[in-house]
Assembly symmetry: C2
């Protein structure tokens, strides 16, 4: 038996058209363009190539894109001042701080400085807190509006668009980063899954994974999750981006896993292409909220 | 075999002395007293008896206590104005909004209006978000200072003071309220437990509970968790406060559970008495931070 491959690339292609339609509608109503500002300090190569890719995809959808760079010797105060200017600039609707920030910069203070209304990657504590406090989807949220981080939101969108019913299912998230693992756990909980969060200290990780109806991997270790760790028929969402001899692979051993899982996202072409899509959606949502 | 009974009453008695010593030290250094303000709108009987109990225990420890009441016809604006006055009042270090608020009041807006520095019961989204983002205990937190809700903090204190090692253990939390279940899950995660969050939609709740090394109940259903749901030797923390024919009982069927568990908190006399203790600790911590 071989799993259905959940292609994020195909879904992203579909959603790009939806986004173009949303942008056209927005511009028609408001005569200005939802715009994101990226803050980068230094020239970390992965960070540079990521902001280039963002520029290209935002531009292609008709969205506004600004890159604000500082040298890698930028001080805490300089970065905070830039963030504060962008917060105050009404022509910018979303702000994203690229990591890594230079050594010695207190990232927590930078995140706190960000306007939570423009925090389109959901890193400000207010956005994390509202995500954590929010009632299940479909019920009154009981919190103010918030943004969830783009990467786990993309994973959720793949599940949703493939009509995966999460209610009462056991979802196991491996990895507890603030940008993927923890928000993914909170998003799954909002869909009424029973959620288990595993990490490097988990005593019997293969055993925990085997109980998962939905298994989400966000650890950053190439091919770590083996086929024998997967419950037959499970849905597997792989957030891993690792390189083995120059080849991009996920956290899940795809060749083994696809023989056991019911559905699985590949790497590349799975959750990766969805991140930009969700970021664009958040920028449009931010522009809407700011002009209401 | 019968479980060790983890008495919260006994621990609270010990900790009252620690708190009195902390208060004496603080007052000696600062010549003013850490002070909490309670906001209550209306005369809900449970709410009235809780604020009376708080007044008594804060007073007995030498802590400042103020009760600010509004009628149950208070408007959203009146409550927000009171919160905003208390935020601005430098002689008040902690603020706690009593629930339930009157019908028609938007609680989310009231929580957002609270100064996160004075939010000693950890209900403001910034405090929830920092708790969710915080790195494991013992490592640099990577977030600003925060307050965790008093009730789950009391449960954690019982585990800690009984030298329960949570690292790599499977902790199952039943109930996902914003004030107990979810913050308890986040606190357990900070101690490197593998954490599963179960709730009313969980498919096989007894089965999930049976995998728990540490089982935390916060559902609000009398005696719901049976002895047969408990793994022999497990540590059981019961946050339930229910009344059956006038008698206070927990969410765990204590008589059955104590024959199976390794350690268990009773109801009453378990997590209950610890809530005020943790609230007092948070008020002292808030006063320290505000005078640093």
């Amino acid at each position: 038996m071989s799993a259905t491959i959940l292609s994020g690339s195909e879904l992203a292609k579909e959603m790009r058209q939806e986004i173009e339609a949303d942008v056209a509608e927005f511009v028609g109503q408001h005569s200005f363009t939802p715009t994101v500002a990226i803050v980068r300090a230094g020239e970390d190569p992965a960070s540079v190539s990521y902001s280039n890719a963002l520029e290209k995809s935002f531009g292609a959808r008709g969205l506004g894109f600004q890159l604000h760079t500082l040298p890698d010797i930028a001080s805490q105060q300089e970065i905070e001042e830039l963030v504060s200017q962008l917060n105050a600039n009404a022509t910018i609707h979303g702000i994203m701080i690229q990591e890594p920030l230079p050594r010695g910069i207190d990232e927590a203070v930078i995140k706190d400085a960000l306007s939570s209304d423009k925090d389109v990657d959901g890193v400000h504590p207010v956005n994390t807190g509202r995500l954590a406090q929010a009632a299940p989807t479909g019920r009154p949220a009981m919190v103010g509006p918030f943004f969830a981080p783009a990467t786990p939101s993309g994973g959720m969108e793949i599940l949703k668009r493939n009509s995966v019913n999460l209610q009462g299912k056991h979802a196991v998230v491996v990895g507890r980063s603030t940008i993927v693992g923890k928000p993914m756990a909170l998003l799954l909980l909002r869909e009424n899954a029973t959620v288990s969060l595993c990490h490097s200290q988990t005593a019997d990780l293969p055993g925990m994974c085997r109980t998962a109806d939905v298994l989400c991997a966000a650890v950053g270790r190439a091919n770590m999750i083996k086929g024998s760790w997967i419950k037959p028929g499970a849905f597997v969402i792989d957030f891993g981006v690792n390189f083995v001899e120059g080849v991009m692979v996920g956290d899940v051993d795809f060749e083994e896993a696809k023989e056991v899982a019911g559905m699985i996202t590949p790497v590349p072409g799975g959750t990766g292409p969805m991140t930009n899509i969700m970021l664009m959606k958040n920028v449009i949502a931010a522009a809407r909220r700011q002009t209401e």
